[in-house]
Symmetry: C2
Subunit: 187 residues, 2 copies
Amino acid sequence: MNNQQPSTLNGLDTVAMGATVSAIGEQSIVAKFQFRAQNQWLGGGHNRTTISDFDGACQKHVHEQPHVVDSDEPEVLMSADRAANPAQHALHALAACLCSTLVIHATARGIRLRSVESTLEGDVDLRGVLGLDSAVRNGYEGIRVSLKVDADAPSEVIDELIQVAQERSPLVDIISNPTPLAVRRVQ
Amino acid sequence: MNNQQPSTLNGLDTVAMGATVSAIGEQSIVAKFQFRAQNQWLGGGHNRTTISDFDGACQKHVHEQPHVVDSDEPEVLMSADRAANPAQHALHALAACLCSTLVIHATARGIRLRSVESTLEGDVDLRGVLGLDSAVRNGYEGIRVSLKVDADAPSEVIDELIQVAQERSPLVDIISNPTPLAVRRVQ
């Protein structure tokens, strides 16, 4: 690495990033992560997820403070609107993932970002979740994302970055493609 | 409705719930919802989603307080662990949705719940998001949910409830099946 390069770009440590990519390149086991969450019903539409730890880079990582995220439904969906609902949280996860993936790949290419903003819309027909029409799907019928990126780069490079963010984002994959899911009852 | 029935079960207003289901049964347009979110990059792996309003039941609903949810990456993923990361938020959305869907259907069947808890695990290989191996998918290779339900009901009825929650949950659908997604750049 050129010592005259700054070691931070877009708020990310480029030296650490290079080391991580090298370590994964040498040993693919380093890339294996397992994320975990625990959820508890609090009454009505209100429930709470606690995220305490995860495995990655061949070790267990405990969050210094567990991450706690609530979910609730708005009044029109018969609860008290104490937090975003699950469908809104899904949009958040997607938006956050597109943003992070774009920032990582811009940084890897040495592109300084000024801003990344997105707005998302998702259409859902509640006849699905309520079981009123089996022809209606339960999830989003479609999701649209408008992404606004300002960077020290030509417009066509920003277009490429937006393309790479879509191609590499874990949440874009989860939303666009089937993921194996197993639900089991425990006593 | 029998006037001697309590009007609240599991923290949900059963009269309002019946009215909602009837309204949707009469006019399917009432079931059409659009959820929205806005996300802004704050530097490094940190970004913030603001959820201000949504459309549903033929009107626009403005949250009294916007719901604000942050995302960040942990230190091992080169950021400051200020919040859960996008993959962890995806587990939260799924857990919250399974819980809410189960509570709604238990309530519709007149079953009093005592507790609903879940633990989730998701495996992901970071060679996907980093673009190091095109044969590795970006999203979760698999997600496992353990669901613990205590209710005033026989064990086989709880099994049925868990089955219905999976069959009707919007997030189970989004994770298990492809959802049309369009990302466009705006200036």
